[in-house]
């Protein structure tokens, strides 16, 4: 169950900083903060329209972004939705949104160390 996954794997984040530079990673986080809400909105719109492929693509992108930063739980939830298709109710997307907010807060805290 993805709720058992940690919010973050800090080693992934540390490696990202070591490779790309701390300042660059801060800007990359800003990009994530801009892009991810759009992907969540796209998933919601696709769910409402019953557009399975649109839903899958958005979930795929969110999964990839989460993995880049080591946001483990977010990546797992996005992967489940990518593979499971359009859900029958809003609960999974609400949970995904909440997980994203938690992940972003944790990532920003790591970046401020």
């Amino acid at each position: 169950m993805s709720e058992d996954d940690p919010i973050l794997d800090p080693h992934v984040f540390d490696e990202l900083q070591a490779m790309a530079g701390a300042d660059f990673v801060v800007e990359l986080l800003d990009t994530l903060a801009e892009e991810a809400p759009g992907l969540l909105a796209e998933m919601a719109a696709a769910q409402a329209a019953g557009a399975a492929e649109r839903f899958r693509r958005a979930a795929h992108s969110l999964k990839t972004n989460a993995g880049t930063f080591g946001a483990v739980r977010l990546a797992a939830q996005a992967r489940a939705l990518e593979q499971g298709g359009v859900p029958g109710d809003d609960a999974p997307l609400h949970a995904l949104g909440e997980t994203f907010r938690q992940a972003l807060a944790a990532l920003r805290a790591l970046a401020r160390r």
Binding site: V12, E15, A18, M19, A20, G21, A22, D23, F24, E27, L28, T31, L32, E35, R57, H60, S61, K63, T64, N65, G67, T68, Q83
Partner: protein
Amino acid sequence: MSDGTHDAAAVLRFGPVEILAAERRLRVDGRDVPLGGRAFDLLLALATHRQRLVSKDELIDLVWPGLVVEDNNLQVQVSALRKALGAQAITTVAGRGYRFTLGSGAAPVASLPQGAQGAPAAAPMSASGGQAHAGAPSSLARAGTATSPARVLVADDNKVNRLLLCRSLELMGHAVTSVDNGRAALQALRGGDFELLLLDLEMPELDGFAVLEHRAEDAALRELPVIVTSSVEGVAQVARCIELGADDFLHKPVNPLLLKARVNASLESGRWRAMQRRRLAVLDPRDGDRGEAAPARLGPATRLAARLHDVEGLARAIGPEEALEAMGAWATLAREALAEQGGIDLMCHGDSVSASFAGSDGAEAALRAARDLHAMLVLLHAEREAAGLPALRCALGLASGDQLAGPGTVAGGASAVAAGALLLRAEQLAALSLQRDAGLLLDAATAQRLQGQPGLAPAVSATGQGADTLAGDDARSSLFIVRL
């Protein structure tokens, strides 16, 4: 490459010579001197082992790791370095190896680039966001083997991925352009001079699979190395990419060290393929990649013939095996010199190498090739002399006129042929030059095209009276020489 005795980011200085290891650049008196990849590897190997003699076997292992390589290839690269740095830069120790002697007596000054000690290093405006990013030096920039900078295209609709890949590649020293869909990727590839494509699969307009399909059908793009980067799951998708011609596949999130290794490998592979295509084009001019021979043509050309003197005598003196090796080294240099200046319809018959230089400026290109070959042979001669081996005498002939060339028409024969009186004439001039020890002999037609060239003069006949001509020619077909 690193041998553990120097920092891959160091700059080695020997007087006016700077070797920038990480950037793979050679500078002499502040000016960049172009060097091929292998020549640079050899330079680095010799410079970092400068305290001692390095054997040929060790140098071959360092420059061509894991490959079976003949001494000829090493000699060619040594000659290229001597041409770039001067004959005194590398000393041959007969039967034992080479020693780097540039600036000997003064210790080199090795320095690290600004920022490598922890101070911020400024980065230029870049595809990864347009801002300089100060900070601790990247582990990516420090780690592993550098390859010479390349133009790389990144195609990914995900902005986070795109920015991160661009950043990674820029830290490796490459020039990066990015696009966010497959159609833009194809447009960019067709309009630009890229050496590598990093391709996402899931993109709008045209996805990565479609880009691979278009690339496979486009002769101009087919040989471009492509690394697919994606977080798709399942072996089937990876297999499909490889079947469509992708060179490699990296799962996202991409490990930076793995990215660097795969990028370096793909660039090296692509550059070798490009070099092989250029060499093949010299031997077998075919139209692009469609398997069609270049069309038949009759037009002006200058033919350069180079001939090695008395290979039979050489074989009697040093044995047939050594003589063949020497002839191979000479022929390798000759082919390189001729091909480098655009020589086509190249023919090699052991002790003679010839090529045509087409068009109105063909004579000048042929003369440059002759001078390059002469310069390389001087270095080869010095090396052989140092090794106690007999000298190789070579003579050159240049003849101009109309040449017929095109696809071969004889079953089982050459795939491309060249014919015309100038071919035989060039060979005759080379043979006559050998007899007279005249260096480079030209016919009147070539001399006319090279009017004003320094060192051009009528060739004096063997009797010392009047201008030289080929047997059977009249006085209007005088011969000329150019002192090389």
